[in-house]
């Protein structure tokens, strides 16, 4: 069985995915609104898993909402909060409910979030989680026990093309490929020349790469990200471009930049698609896509 997302990846089309952040609480209206405005604009939507180690409505719950509203979900699964029993159990459940795309992540560290005294689990890591999925597909759990009904997933992972140093990350990328990752969504990229270099390397592997596009909302935010967020580098010319925007217009400049980057990646077939992250401003994703010519 193939998922809509997997079919799109294999069709050769330029695949666009985006992201839904579940709420902190039970008010799911905004999440539903974001799903509704994105479901026909993108091929699939990642649902984040306690993003930044902040406790929220669960990823699997968000994925079910995406399904119910006619969208294609990608279940984000981190290794931070569940041991190998709980991760496998959730994969069984997800499969039975038609949530069949999974993005495997290590997960942010506990102390960066809002439950700083919690125990970080990390019983498995992202490579081991990918292998777990492939093992469950074989009809056995990772304890070697038979399953009464197996699973089938389109499994992916992340990679950070701007990491410094890059070599250890590339080595892990290759381990993820060997572990069965079919697609990669990258950390945000802004330097297209550098990304093209990464793609030249990544093209050697039988995987689909979706470039991470994070909306820049102001020069300040861009500067903050490049100085503080691991693996993100925003070139100075983009920061200057945002800073030169008239007051109140920076966000539109950010939309223009994101659209321009997506269009360039598509035009030159640099990668297989993009993963657009507006981080709480999901209602702007359609504008970004319009700016990109979609």
């Amino acid at each position: 069985m193939s998922t809509r997302f997997k079919e799109a990846l294999n069709s050769g089309e330029f695949v666009i995915t985006s992201e839904i952040g579940p709420p902190k609480g039970t008010n799911i209206e905004k999440m539903h609104h974001h799903i509704d405005i994105l479901k026909d604009k993108v091929v699939a939507m990642n649902v984040t898993d306690h993003q930044s180690s902040v406790m929220r409505f669960p990823s699997i719950g968000g994925c079910l909402a995406v399904k119910e509203r006619g969208g294609e979900p990608i279940l984000q699964m981190t290794c931070r909060d569940r041991n190998r029993l709980a991760l496998q159990a959730e994969l069984l459940f997800a499969y039975t409910r038609g949530v069949m795309n999974v993005l495997c992540l290590t997960g942010d560290a506990v102390p960066v979030g809002d439950h700083k005294e919690a125990k970080g689990v990390f019983d498995l890591d992202s490579v081991q989680l990918l292998r777990t999925i492939r093992q469950l597909e074989s009809g056995k759990d990772i304890g070697g026990n038979d399953l009464d009904g197996a699973v089938e997933f389109c499994a992916g992972a992340i990679v950070t093309p701007e990491a410094n140093p890059i070599e250890p990350q590339l080595l892990k990328f290759e381990k993820k490929v060997e572990a069965g990752a079919e697609f990669f969504q990258t950390q945000a990229i802004y330097d297209l020349d550098n990304f093209a270099k990464f793609m030249k390397y990544a093209r050697e592997f039988p995987v689909k790469i979706l470039a991470g596009i994070v909306l820049l909302t102001s020069a300040r935010m861009a500067k903050y990200m490049t100085e503080n967020v691991p693996g993100i580098f925003v070139p100075q010319n983009l920061i200057d471009e945002l800073a030169a925007a008239p007051k109140g217009e920076a966000i539109n400049k950010g939309i223009e930049i994101a659209g321009r980057m997506i269009a360039a990646l598509n035009k030159d077939s640099i990668c297989d698609g993009v993963h657009v992250m507006a981080i709480g401003r999901e209602e702007l994703v359609p504008d970004i896509l319009t700016a990109a010519g979609f």
Binding site: N164, P168, K172
Partner: protein, 214 residues
Amino acid sequence: MKSITKQKTFDEIKEQLDGLDKVFIVGCGTCATMTKTGGRDEVLGMKDSLQELGKVVTGWTVIPTACDEMTEVALRENSEAISSSNCILVMSCALGVHKISCYIDRPVIPALDTLFIGLEDEPGNFHEVCAQCGQCVLGQTAGICPLTACHKGLLNGPCGGTNKGKCEVDITKDCAWTLIHQRLEAQGRLDLMRKYQPPKNYQATPRPRTTKIA
């Protein structure tokens, strides 16, 4: 091996001593002396602080190594002062607290928190290098333990949170996997890092862990 400790806050010590007014203090001449948390000076400092609080300090001693067999003898030598106390405040690591609890029939109160088993890389600077997991991987990781030195204990390489060789949790700390990569590369053994490491067996020796030397 050094057992690294830090003193609990005085408020917490005070709370533990609530209702226990006669105190005998035990320090340790080994690790806690070296870390300046339970040596002679710290024991005398604690004595003054408790007396200021209105407690009676019936006596004190610094046992050479609180966790070894001589502890029972050292306590016996102080039996008079101990018997007139109604608790023992121990300024050693948890091993000493445990050992003393085996010989004393009254409350044994820890004054320190035991942090880790560590090395002193420069004077006064201690760091954890081994989590005593029971399945040593140092042969594949160029002598740096990822279970200990990586915040997340990852076995298959760095997470995406590392930046310029530092850890996302604390930029004063090195990323273990960046260091492992550097060392393995210098040794021409990067193939070790490319090898898939399966999930760890956390029940190799189920807790509580024991072993018997044949």
